[in-house]
Amino acid sequence: MYSTREEIGTNEEGDLIINIGPQHPSTHGVLHLVVTLSGETIKKVEPHLGYIHRSIEKMCESLNYRQFIYSTSRMDYLSSHINNQGCALAVEQGLGIEVPARAQAIRVLMAELTRLASHQLWWAALAMDLGAITPFFHAFRERELINEIMEETCGARLTMNYSAPGGVMYDLHPNFQARVKSFITEFKGKIDEYDELVTGNVIFQARMKGVGFISREDAISYGCSGPTARGSGISSDIRKVAPYDGYDKLQFDESLETAGDCFARYLVRMREMRTSLAIIEQLIDSIPEGDFQAKTKAVLKLPKGEYYSRVETARGEFGVYIISEGAMTPYRIKYRSPGFSNLSALDHMSRGAKIGDLVAMMGTLDLVIPDIDR
């Protein structure tokens, strides 16, 4: 029998304090939340991080400008290509390298395929967290097709390491275009199936609508980006507001919702899958001919100064901040990870909600723990 307050696990006010994670299926990694509960109502959520912190920023201080890019594949492993792209852009900014049109197109194609694969996994995991097992198998079936395309061209399925300063590592595989086209045809039918299976489901909507609300002002103040911010009506897509790698030449719309709840964030991501498909369709038949990498020196030295590049990953705004002292290695590197800022809003959006809804909120924030821990 428990008798003291410490044994039962309550604080002075009689609120129950429970630990969710670090080993909990719905945290998708090792996230540790200390939740203060009054009955079933959440009073406070305090994240404790660092279970897989590898100090990639410190590690990068001893890696040169060709090497450091590849450590970022291990951060947000679902957007690894886009992370690599962000790093390559920062180095190119420092050296003033002009990236060939072909390399830009290849990077954009790969980035959109990555975004699709990431959103598929998010959709699968979210539905599973809310009790629907079947969507997981549906999404993984299509995700496998993307992983195979990646494997063929990049040699890896998740940690692609495909971007390099000046372009990409090697040219596209001869099968690439045909495979991507057959994937598009297949996935177009499947995404309608996704909507039929989950989006219109009454139980699913009841779990999402009005849950995890964050207002536009609060989302800005908490530094939210990506679909989390766009669900609250903030135009924040870096592909639109600060275009890179030729996104300004492409036709696509930023998906915005204004409700600010879990369902709004869900709808934004579902629409983004269609947007990514449209971008791939625009580019796949018109990949420019030419070099896939600009000529660069064997040893790269960034001039003394500061460089910052921003890209839109599947989770939001990813920033690479390089401070160079003119040496072969960076003096300081800071990665602005989207998940870190989005997670900080979790406490705010969950206060007053029921503990059972916390899983839906975490699901729609689309947290990837290595991205937060770095």
């Binding site: 924040s236 500061e306 910052y308 800071k334 602005r336 900080s344």
Partner: protein, 151 residues
């Protein structure tokens, strides 16, 4: 607002503090003691409502905290505020998390790795490292002969 317009606007707003335009974005070097007089003004007058990055930097003789600010109303306006924390022994700077809530987490990160104390922060704690961790790992003079490999 582009870089030139922002520079003119800043010169009107803060005539005593010269801006630096050697990088892609305009930056404003200030001293840590001036932070609380500068930041609310930038938030209010220039509408810089979105803080997207906070970085601690160890310059060996001193620290600096770099704030990247932009506006959600006009995304072309970007300002980088660099606050110098001169005291290396007891580094401290005021918190700005009552202006931008996102700073709360970012400041915890800078505290955890650099030992920069953010005065007025609602819950300064080790965010990544265990509570009993000794030292500040991202500082340039940090050494851990057991776990660190130097190349």
């Amino acid at each position: 607002m582009n870089k030139e317009e922002l520079k003119t606007k800043l010169a009107e707003l803060l005539p005593a503090l010269p801006a630096d335009d050697t990088s892609t974005w305009l930056s404003l070097p200030i001293d840590a003691s001036e932070l609380l007089s500068v930041m609310p003004l930038l938030r209010k007058e220039l509408d810089l409502d979105f803080m997207f990055c906070v970085t601690g930097v160890d310059w060996k003789t001193h620290f600096s905290v770099v704030y990247h600010l932009t506006s959600t109303k006009d995304r072309s306006t970007v300002l980088v505020v660099k606050a110098k924390v001169a005291d290396r022994e007891n580094p401290s700077i005021a918190t700005v998390c009552d202006i931008w809530r996102t700073a709360e987490f970012h400041e915890l990160e800078a505290y955890d790795f650099f030992g920069i104390v953010f005065t007025g922060h609602p819950g300064l704690r080790r965010l990544f490292l265990p509570e009993d961790w000794k030292g500040w790992p991202m500082r340039k003079d940090y050494s851990d002969p057991v776990n660190m490999i130097t190349l």
